[in-house]
Amino acid sequence: MTRIGKPDRRQPRRSKRVVCVVGALAGTLAVAACGGGSSAGAGSSTSPSAGGVYHVGASMILSGPAAAYGANMTGGMQAYFKYVNAHGGVNGKQIQLDTADGGLVASSTIQSLKTLVSQDHDIVVGGLLPSSGVQGARSTITALKTTVLEGSPIGQDVNPQYSPLFYGGGGPIYPADAYIQTNFAKAQVIKGNAHPRIGLIYEISSATVAYGNVIKKLAQQNGWDLVDTESYQVGTTSFASQAAKMAAAKPDYIFASFDESNFAFIKALQAAGVKAPIIANQGGPTAQQLQQLAYPGLYVERAYVYPVGNSPVVKQYLARVKQYGGGADPTNHITQYGYVQAQIIVAVLQKCGADCTTDKFTSTIGGMHSIPTGGFTFAPVSYSKADAGGFPTSAFYTWDTSTNKLVKLPNLYTWPQS
């Protein structure tokens, strides 16, 4: 390749440039990885937390195509922690949130857990902790002897409880989602149709694959005809072909476990002419997206209230996320996961006391069977050895296209059923 310039002078300069750019790349990624969370500073206290600070860790997805998850979860947690700190803290101590990029896979999740627990001495680790990461990190969590709150738990971890260290800290448990949706569908949507044609859509992760398997099993048990199954990866750029395939299968009803791509997928289904009612999980559309889609018969399962309207709990939440959330999207369900997970941690710390240690936190949370959320969830967060998921109760919302209003349907659905 022809070049201009003096090779003898340019070569060292180029090497320096490469080094500089690699450094800049590393720096940029480091900044991205830090996200909105406070960095884990050197000289962090050891357990029990000293210096008037509780160190709380959070393993998040802070990079890659699902990085928005981490930003929103961090924002939700900070919104509540900073609010509490601004009002005197817990037991006279402030809460410091240390974040680490756990990504979507076990190796990075393990690394983030070790960093948070061993280096930063966090007494509890929350965050999103996706099922795909936690499955491979079970032995690490056991060895670290630190309680983890999984933002996206799978039934095998919490139902029944895998160990006294595992708790749900976000959405409903994915196989439980499938039972709740099926019970709702049978009671409210699939009425008088003995052999409906069912479509199934889910985002690919350990948790949602488990969800899909339960829906398949329940469809078989109920005599439903599963006519099409579509799965997709985070970051998929087009759903047109899959939507067209679903349309061709002519389902009467569609069960869906969505992620952030829900809006794009439903839009593609509409473009393909699909009109079947859709029963979606909490990752389904936000209230605003429900309005924009105006899809008749789109039902969204929620363990949390939709953050719209003038109820005091919603107004408080929106104000705190705006003030302390670092730009997190308050309408996103993951932001709500973070907010309520922080509520759980604060409640446990209050009971655990000013001298709370890692071990003491674990024994305290194990004895808390009902943690109120002030109406943010449809039932208090409940933990037991039989079910440490925390969020067994859901309601369903839909957008009433005739009145152009968000409607919460009257009944609550619980799994496991008491």
């Binding site: 790349l25 940029t28 750029t237 061709a248 730009g327 997190a328």
Partner: protein
């Protein structure tokens, strides 16, 4: 048969999006010999600027024109202020195979990916373009106005860029700067300006691609990186320096991706194109239309 029809439903729009992005990559590669990893991110910036202008003006088409002008300026400045200093050689700023420049494009993409949510928020935006609302269906095959118009725009852009690089003086200077930069310099070709223009045009076509994607799905900060990561098989299939090759590569990538999700399942979406690419490169190491001299870089 229904599966085949369903599979083809996604192909026109995906082809348009991938071809628009890859033609920008080819243009930059032709002018600078740099594989630009920030193509999707540059398009994302242009798309957000267009969206903000659309909100301010309350009219899409003037906003589109202004947005593309802004994207042109941003692309050119991104090269002049960030990539050109990294390439380092003032005399030959536009023709570098430097690893530093390559990494610089990755840094730029990462920086844009981090900055957009900070500046514009992380909420996905329901983006729409005022287009005729007609749809055409045959069995499971669906076609709507967005598919057709995006494809038509892509064809026009590819033809204009293809013909422009072959026939216009600017295109000839681009090729000269890339192939024989020293000789081009003797003939008063300003390689820095040539590189800036190629980056500016790439940002414009990238903006069109991201807008087409956003209208079909939504506009969110991860769109640029998702699209940018997805399109490299198209570029390598076609050959790094071939305009027609990038079009063929885009069609093949769209076909392979659509076939994979319809026939094999969603978890094959990102894997299948690379299997296909591997098979093609074993037979044709430089892609379908690439010239061997470039694949050695």
């Amino acid at each position: 048969m229904l599966k085949l029809e369903a599979m083809l439903s996604g192909v026109p729009l995906l082809t348009a999006i991938y071809a628009l992005l890859t033609v920008g990559l080819v243009l930059v590669f032709r002018a600078t010999r740099v594989l630009n990893f920030s193509a999707g991110a540059l398009g994302l910036v242009g798309a957000y600027m267009t969206y903000e202008l659309q909100r301010g003006l309350n009219d899409f088409y003037p906003a589109l024109v202004l947005g593309l002008i802004c994207a042109f300026a941003f692309g050119g400045l991104a090269y002049r202020l960030i990539l050109a200093p990294i390439s380092g050689s003032r005399a030959n700023v536009g023709a570098s195979t430097d690893v530093g420049v390559l990494l610089g494009t990755i840094v730029l993409a990462s920086a844009i990916g981090a900055a957009v949510p900070f500046l514009a928020g992380s909420q996905p935006i329901n983006y729409s373009i005022p287009l005729p609302g007609w749809k055409w269906r045959a069995g499971a095959f669906n076609l709507n106005s967005l598919d057709v118009i995006a494809f038509a725009v892509m064809v026009v852009v590819v033809v204009l860029i293809g013909q422009g690089t072959m026939r216009l003086p600017l295109g000839l200077r681009m090729r000269a700067a890339a192939d024989r930069p020293r000789l081009a310099g003797y003939f008063s070709v300003n390689t820095t300006n040539i590189a800036m223009v190629s980056w500016a045009i790439a940002a414009v076509v990238g903006t069109l691609a991201v807008l087409a994607y956003a209208a079909s799905a939504e506009l969110d900060p991860s769109s640029g990186n998702n699209l940018g990561a997805a399109l490299f098989p198209a570029l390598l299939l076609g050959g790094l320096d071939s305009i027609i090759g990038c079009l063929i590569g885009a069609v093949l990538l769209a076909l392979v991706q659509s076939a994979a999700v319809v026939y094999l399942g969603g978890n094959w979406l990102s894997v299948a194109p690379y299997f296909f690419l591997l098979a093609v490169l074993i037979i044709r190491p430089h892609g379908f239309f690439g010239r061997g001299e470039f694949s050695r870089l």
